[in-house]
């Protein structure tokens, strides 16, 4: 399973890519592969605010519907509207196709997330 470098990861298989005070958030390759063919992505609205661990999106596949959780506190600054018409983008490349962009409220929360190497180890051991 592909684990992209230089990203932060959560136990729930989201990734986060820091971009100044902002960050892109998406699903890991493992998450998209486990879900199977994704058929629908529900997106939040720009300016919505979420706490860490809140569900900000729901992803529906032929097998299951699954919430996507915030890795850190933050406010939505952008959503990837391409996913509404083409949810399969998440299956094609889940690192290239982010779901939301946020303004990070508290950068110290990044310390609680896994590095790419740690996530790789987590996948080997836990899953």
């Amino acid at each position: 399973m592909k684990v992209a470098k230089d990203l932060y990861y959560t136990n729930d298989h989201e990734w986060l890519k820091v971009d100044g005070d902002e960050a892109y958030i998406g699903l890991s390759d493992f998450a998209q592969d486990s879900l199977g063919d994704i058929v629908y992505v529900e997106l939040p609205e720009v300016d919505d605010e979420f706490d860490k661990d809140d569900a900000f999106s729901a992803v529906e596949s032929v097998k299951a519907a699954s919430d996507v959780f915030m890795p850190v506190d933050g406010k939505i600054t952008e959503i990837n509207e391409d996913l509404l018409d083409s949810p399969e983008l998440l299956n094609e490349d889940s690192y290239e196709n982010w779901i939301i962009k946020i303004e990070i409220s508290d950068k110290s929360q990044l310390d609680d997330l896994m590095s790419s190497d740690e996530y790789e180890k987590f996948l080997d051991e836990e899953v």
Partner: protein, 484 residues
Amino acid sequence: MREYNKLIFELSRPGRRAYSLPENDVQEVRIEELIPAEYLNDDELNLPEVSEVDIVRHYTNLANKNFGVDTGFYPLGSCTMKYNPKVNEDMANLDGFKNIHPRQPEETVQGALKLMYELDEALCEISGMDKVTLQPAAGAHGELTGLTLIRAYHEDRGDTKRTKIIVPDSAHGTNPASAMMAGFDVIEIKSTEEGLVDLESLKAALSDEVAGLMLTNPNTLGLFEKEIKEIADLVHEAGGLLYYDGANANAILGQVRPGDMGFDVMHFNLHKTFSTPHGGGGPGSGPVAVKKILIDFLPTPVIGKDGQRYYLNYDIPKTVGRMKDFYGHFGIMVRAYAYILSMGSDGLNKVSEMAVLNANYLAHRLKDHYSLPDDAIYKHEFVMAGLKSELSEITTLDVAKRLLDYGYHPPTVYFPLIVHEAMMTEPTESESKETLDEFADVLIEIAQEAKEKPENLKEAPHDTPVRRLDETLAARKPVLKYEG
């Protein structure tokens, strides 16, 4: 005729009729005089024009493509596809039940009201609860009703900050959905390795904001929550109520009662446990049974009895109001009542014993060929995690599709979500050892085929009116209406 695949519209020919109406003996009124012109549709009505024999053949051919419990083995986990005895249909077809109107005066439908009253009593006896509403249309509607009662209970006590419902991650998808519908937020708690409620997670989730816990027991893995008394005590101590999802009640009939386990409110699925037909539109029926503390909030009317007279009781001052037009799905109640009386208490005991025995027998026969995450004693159903060989490219979906070639309805697949490649099998008590053996033999043969001719499985089904459908395309680009 297995390949028959026409639409009734394709049979249509202008002017063809299957009936002739008698001469009109009432005065004709122009529709424009009754309904304002702007509301009238001036498109031509696109109705099929077909002769009687063509209609009969059309629907008979379509019906022959159906698969049901009367056609073959249907081990669809969590759905309790047991046989529906035909005597239930005979009872529901009695003139006095079939041809009554919900607005008839009470004194002319005493028999129907008596049946509803006695069904209420029987369900109370079976569940260890105190009173029942027969209104809910099916299971999820029962959940919505039960949760509405829980909310009314807390609000009546002025305890308005209880806005959360706890649901385990193994729960039926309807549980969190119903909680949201009833206006609650959902807290999902993780299961233990064995798939049971994790007491530590439960304790961590409990607070004075929790309105209640929804639980299925046995749970969706077919495992009995042995610590149910402790679970109930914890929830009650925190001020919450316990909701019992009755979907798996077939496992416990006559053995243990939700009321005795500490549950405050529950629904039954009459269409599962009490053997009324379901699938293909039902209708179902999901009566909700409550303990005394919730009786004051029940939807009106409930069925009352005054001496020898039965009546519709609307006098419940704190009622949450109606949950359904009229009194629920009466025809289904008749079938369930007939089932309960014809089985008797000994018979219902035997139901759960045989359902559990059948599930465990099947699990035992399959466990060398399919992965069984818990080598436990199951209740009425068990969940396998795909083929034994982890290296196999063959998925649970391939196995399910191949079963169609052998004339079986596949088990529930990819649920519960906490089991990888889940295949949830519930044989029910209806099936003979021979049927179970034939089914196990076929599944074992498929496991063998997965090693020797995997492509045969990847391409399955081979012997059905349509081959494997593209589920992804159907979900992403659904075609929702007929376009001729």
